[in-house]
């Protein structure tokens, strides 16, 4: 059994990997095996940082031969090293899974000895889990750049999802900060897996090969690329490598013995805005060019959809009773769910403002951009709209008591004047 000390080391080393989703795969129950996977994914717990725990996220080893500047596990860092045997990982997964602690395994590793040796260990662990332990739950495996192609494909045949981390948004930054990794070593296997996935299950709708597809992750703020650059890269990967998700992690200084990296953490707001933009690319029919500002970055004060709408005020307001779905999706404050609700409800009767409220469509932002049966309830002044949108975003508005009086400075702080 894996002892607590090694578990702690291997978990601590894995915690900066963002991806922990268990969605996208439908593994149905198989006789004699244990486990299944639900398409929507299931979160099993939430840590104090507000992130979900769905999978047992762990490294096979943190004993790395590489020396990437941004990484905690780099060779030149002096920290306790540990390695787990495939057997130990399997045992832990089965015990946790039975108790419903986890939805499956997220297996990654530092580069031990070399890429091929590491990939072989990852493959062996997954094989053991699937074949010897008859585990039919969710498995996400990190791909090791520069590992043998056959090893990667064979791992892909057993896993639900694989991911090669692109790490940094440009080749230049990658060369600078992760000298042992190359763009080709990361991109090529992604391409290959996309093709494998296509050819190994051509006739069926649901793929048996990597049913949950591929994802990737990059660090934001460690290198000078703009939001526009990042979003274009993201869009390119969604289109060409058929990725399911791109994860962003804002840079946090963990290594202080290097001059290549900034010493302060990147703002979390930037990461948040990038995710919002990412959603717009995947679910709302936007393109990267539409949502980035001319200076190449996303607006900080409001979300990217609001920013886009304010730049394109000539398209608004839209009439909820007749606007096509694609345009409803572009209204700030109306999400995918609300848009579909509106589309189905308006088949029965003409919708008014109160009807939207009853349907739980959030109108705080949307009311400035829609009409209901020709009636408009928002503000017509552009500056006023901007002010209200910022207020809605920061949620600084607090109902002040009539009798509160007191310190005027405190009050203006409450209303957001200060």
């Amino acid at each position: 059994m894996l002892d607590e000390k090694r578990l702690a080391i291997l978990t601590d080393a894995a915690k900066y990997d963002v991806s922990c989703s268990s969605s996208g795969s439908t593994r149905s129950y198989k006789r004699g095996q244990i486990g299944n996977a639900s398409f929507a994914g299931i979160c099993h717990s939430f840590t104090q940082d507000g992130r979900c725990i769905s999978l047992l996220k762990i490294l096979l080893s943190n004993d790395c031969v590489y020396d990437c500047a941004y990484c905690m596990n780099r060779r030149s860092n002096s920290l306790p090293r540990a390695t787990a045997a495939p057997e130990e990982i399997c045992e832990l997964v089965m015990a946790f899974y039975r108790r419903n602690y986890i939805e499956g395994l997220f297996l990654s590793s530092a580069i031990v000895k070399g890429p091929n040796h590491t990939m072989e260990m990852l493959f062996e662990t997954v094989r053991k889990l699937r074949v010897d332990y008859k585990f039919n739950g969710y498995i996400h495996v990190k791909g090791i750049p520069s590992a043998d192609k056959l090893l990667i494909t064979r791992t892909g045949a057993l896993a639900d999802r694989m991911s090669f981390n692109i790490e940094l948004p440009s080749e230049k930054s990658l060369k600078l900060l992760a000298p042992q990794k190359s763009k080709e070593a990361i991109i090529e296997p992604m391409k290959m897996l996309a093709l494998d996935r296509y050819y190994l299950s051509p006739a069926k709708r649901r793929s048996d090969f990597l049913p949950a597809g591929q994802t990737t992750q990059m660090i934001i703020g460690a290198s000078p690329e703009s939001d526009a650059h990042i979003l274009k890269l993201t869009e390119y990967m969604y289109r060409n490598y058929k990725l399911k998700r791109v994860y962003y992690s804002s840079y946090m200084p963990t290594n202080f013995n290097t001059t290549l990296l900034p010493t302060v953490a990147a703002p979390k707001l930037r990461e948040h805005r990038l995710y919002q933009a990412d959603w717009l690319l995947r679910f709302y029919g936007f393109t990267a060019d539409e949502i980035t500002d001319t200076d190449g970055n996303l607006a900080e004060e409001y979300d990217p959809k609001c920013a886009w709408a304010l730049k394109n005020l000539h398209l608004f307001p839209v009439e909820v009773n007749s606007a096509p779905l694609s345009l409803l999706l572009r209204v700030p404050g109306i999400g995918v769910r609300s848009a579909f609700r509106i589309r189905s409800a308006r088949k029965y009767a003409k919708l008014g403002f109160d009807d939207l409220k009853r349907m739980r469509v959030t109108l705080k932002r949307a009311k400035h951009f829609i009409t209901c049966g020709g009636k408009f309830f928002g503000s017509e002044n552009e500056n006023e709209v901007k002010r209200l949108l910022i207020a809605a975003e920061t949620d600084r508005y607090t109902q002040l008591s009539f009798l509160s009086g007191g310190d005027p400075a405190a009050e203006s702080a409450l209303t957001g004047e200060l």
Binding site: L7, T11, H44, S45, G50, R98, Y101, M252, A349
Partner: protein
């Protein structure tokens, strides 16, 4: 106020619908016998559950309201909302009245109330499927306790029957004294008043401790965000989880 008293199951509800259409009486409220506090001007009708009538109504409902309407009515009736039965009744009544599927018409208050009541039940089911924690007993049976807001044992247990195929388990709703028992291949629901006598297996505590340690280590301290944690993992569920409750 016209009140229908029914047996609190879907057959009871369907019989009430049958009666309502035959006798041309529309109730203001439909409720089940155990919980109702009678008021002075209430006009009460006791509805007898009748399997044949229920089946006729079921056929009609399925024809007009879609293939899953019975399941949805059941889900709604599992809600802890005290008006849940009335809500389900009104929705079914409206479906039969208009003879069409009204489920998409969220602008209608009857439909909205029904859909959101059902959604609440299903949301809790989804939560519990993730947050339920089993402990392994010395005999090999795994056992989980929980105390959900809505009566969702019957919605939760089938998920685990599929997932843990072959493993015997017991799920115990300690609020309603309801249990779901599985021998690994079939499910049985029952009531129990006895507290479960539970002897953990030898390595149960060891694995729970490993899990606690894992939970601690995977957290990124610099990004602490308790508000978000509370939003995603309501505190009322945490007393049944080893990572958040030491005496689990």
């Amino acid at each position: 106020m016209k009140i229908f008293f029914i047996q609190n199951n879907v057959e009871g509800l369907l019989s009430a619908l049958f009666y309502s259409f035959v006798a041309k009486v529309v109730p203001d409220e439909v409720t089940d016998v155990e919980i109702y506090q009678q008021k002075i001007d209430d006009e009460i009708t006791y509805i007898k559950t009748d399997a044949a009538q229920a089946e006729r109504v079921q056929t009609a409902l399925t024809r007009y309201g879609g293939y899953d309407i019975i399941r949805r009515l059941k889900n709604c009736m599992l809600s802890c909302d005290e008006n849940a039965t009335s809500t389900a009744f009104r929705y079914a009544y409206k479906t039969l009245f208009f003879k069409k599927d009204i489920s998409g018409n969220l602008a209608d208050p009857t439909v909205a109330q029904f859909v959101f009541t059902e959604q609440k039940v299903l949301t809790e089911r989804h939560h519990i499927i993730g947050f339920l924690r089993f402990r392994e007993s010395a005999g090999g049976v795994i056992y989980a306790r929980f105390s959900p807001d809505n009566d969702i044992t019957e919605l939760v247990a089938p998920h685990f029957l599929k997932r843990l195929s072959g493993l015997p388990f017991v799920i115990h709703d300690i609020k309603r004294n309801k249990i779901a028992i599985s021998d690994g291949f079939a499910l049985k629901f029952d009531h129990t008043d006895l507290p479960a006598a539970f002897t953990p297996s030898d390595d149960e505590e060891a694995f729970a401790n490993l899990w606690r340690r894992y939970y601690k280590e995977i957290n990124i301290e610099e990004r602490k965000n308790l508000k978000q944690q509370d939003r995603f993992m309501p505190r009322r569920y945490r007393k049944f989880m080893p990572e958040t409750y030491e005496r689990f």
